[in-house]
Symmetry: C2
Subunit: 343 residues, 2 copies
């Protein structure tokens, strides 16, 4: 085995499957000469999309006969799809043939399979899903985004530690500001889980800045924002809705007549920059944190650019040794139950 990094790609996952994954892989290989990719999936769907003669040390196909449907129940995928592209890609991480995998397949099945195959790290009860979003001052990482609907205070605390450690590694921020997502009103502030997590975080060695409200995610007050998966998912999806509405409004109104079309032409440099700024593809690639291996979830509807971005995130997490870093951190200081017992 060479020193080269290897990333396994679930070539069949997502709304577009190999149509997106194969060109994204080719683009990625051109940009990252030090990395090898394994395309996992149905060989006859993948091979025709590859230029002749490209297969070799840096790009290979691993045949997998099954595909997990986007609406398939995780339990069903786990039980009946043992030769799916998703499962085989994760198996490659487990066996060490790949150091990370990327899938645009269904989130529930990916999380369930990754958890079953790779297992969670010691002292981590539940993995969480984290992504970066743009903010006024750069970007904010937010977790959990839907893996855990009901969370205890300890779970939220563990998410905070995993998020902080990962942001330190990937963004180079020594002591990331960690905020706990809550609502503003006094006395009715928060539910029991949030209040409990607040106590644990206030006693931790994290750079905990206290409760934050939803707008903080985008206004740049925190580097890591922690919530349960239900709340985090709604916050992210609502924000995506506003961004889509904004793009729709500008597009419709700049196309209204020849005068507005002309003004759009004049404003093009700013509007293009704005388009890039809000472009969700730049942020595509969510991390499944807390596992004994690196798994990156791409958006199901991702296009080539977006999927390539997710592969770059996988590469960065390999370089940063994210699972090892989290394991070290939680072995060292994270024992929420013990901590709580001493409170």
């Amino acid at each position: 085995m060479s020193d080269r990094l290897t990333i396994a790609l679930d070539a069949m996952g997502g709304d577009h499957g190999p149509e997106v994954v194969v060109p994204a892989a080719l683009d990625f290989l051109r940009a990252s000469p030090d990395t090898a990719l394994i395309l996992v999936g149905q060989e006859d769907a993948i091979r025709p999309r590859l230029p002749v003669g490209i297969l070799g040390e840096r790009l290979s196909i691993r045949h997998a006969s099954q595909v997990v449907a986007m609406d398939e129940l995780p339990s069903r995928a786990l039980r009946l799809k043992k030769d799916s592209s998703m499962r085989v890609a994760i198996d490659l991480v487990k066996s060490g043939e790949a150091q990370a995998c990327v899938s645009a397949g269904n989130t529930g099945a990916l999380m369930a399979t990754a958890r079953f195959v790779l297992k969670t790290l010691p002292n981590i009860d539940r993995p969480a899903i984290m992504t970066a979003v743009p903010s006024i001052t750069g970007s904010t990482h937010i977790l959990d985004l839907g893996a855990n609907v009901d969370c205890t205070a300890e779970h939220l605390f563990q998410f905070a530690v995993m998020g902080s450690e990962t942001v330190t590694a990937v963004a180079g921020i020594a002591a990331p500001k960690v905020g706990l997502l809550n609502i503003g009103a006094e006395e009715i502030k928060g539910n029991e889980q949030v209040k409990g997590a607040h106590e644990l975080l206030a006693r931790s060695s994290l750079n905990y800045i206290g409760y934050v409200e939803g707008d903080t995610i985008y206004l740049g007050g925190a580097d890591v924002v922690v919530s349960d998966g239900f709340v985090g998912n709604v916050a992210l999806k609502s924000s995506e809705g506003v961004a889509k509405m904004v793009r729709h409004f500008l597009s419709v109104n700049f196309r209204r007549n020849w005068l507005t079309k002309l003004s759009a032409l004049a404003a093009r440099p700013v509007l293009q920059r704005f388009g890039r700024f809000l472009d969700p593809r730049r942020y595509n690639g969510a991390s499944l944190l807390g596992l004994r291996g690196i798994v990156i979830k791409s958006h199901g509807g991702a296009d080539v650019l977006a999927f390539e971005n997710a592969i770059h995130i996988a590469k960065k997490e390999i370089h940063c040794n994210i699972p090892e870093r989290i394991a070290h951190r939680v072995g060292g200081q994270l024992d929420a139950k013990r901590l709580r017992a001493t409170v």
Copy 2:
């Protein structure tokens, strides 16, 4: 007592107190000749802001010696501030001297006081806070926005009925599309409360469209979106954060140099329209639904235009007889516990 509508304004509430409430009242009176206003608060803070000779049938002052602070605990406000501008304004609704009141004071205290003084409607366990937000197709109403952190399925069901009934009345939509806020992933979909509410709603006579994700709020698929107060508050605040970030980005980038400034000038008609579209002041005024009286919450930081908008919402709810309509609806068909027992 005349047939004239009367609305009581908490003149001391919010970040700006009479500085905003008094001019908003004067603007409102010019636009609404059929309505009278009562300014409730410290007379010596209100009177100097009024033009000489304006007091009379349509505008009066009701002195109240105390002020509820923006960070005051609701329980404390309720116990110790019986002569606060907030409390006296609500008392005027209770006594029938006013048909509605508007306050920019602290949400928790306003809800607690309104609930204590006015009481909830029969068959309504808890009041909820609802507001409208812009969407691609017009606007969407969302509730609860923070009054209820933990909700049962029955509570969510009651919110849906109140929201639907109110939107029918104020927006003239015969059968508003009602969506239940949830996350997308299968199997891990929703918590127990959301699943329970889903069952109740599916059996109701509402135009229930099922689960919706956060982006639906802004993409126009539903007229009413229902969630617990924690989730709804985070969804709204996150969205506000994105809107602020967008405005900030455009403002900074159009001011970058003389060329971009010139292009902003060219694009001015569209940018102004965009500014109005995203202007939160146009949507200021949240309804406290489920009470035996009309109480409108203005944003604490509202300016004159925003506060005036909240007064117009109060007027509209008087015209629509919102509490009576909800009472009629819930007396008729809303008995979630009985409904559940028959499931």
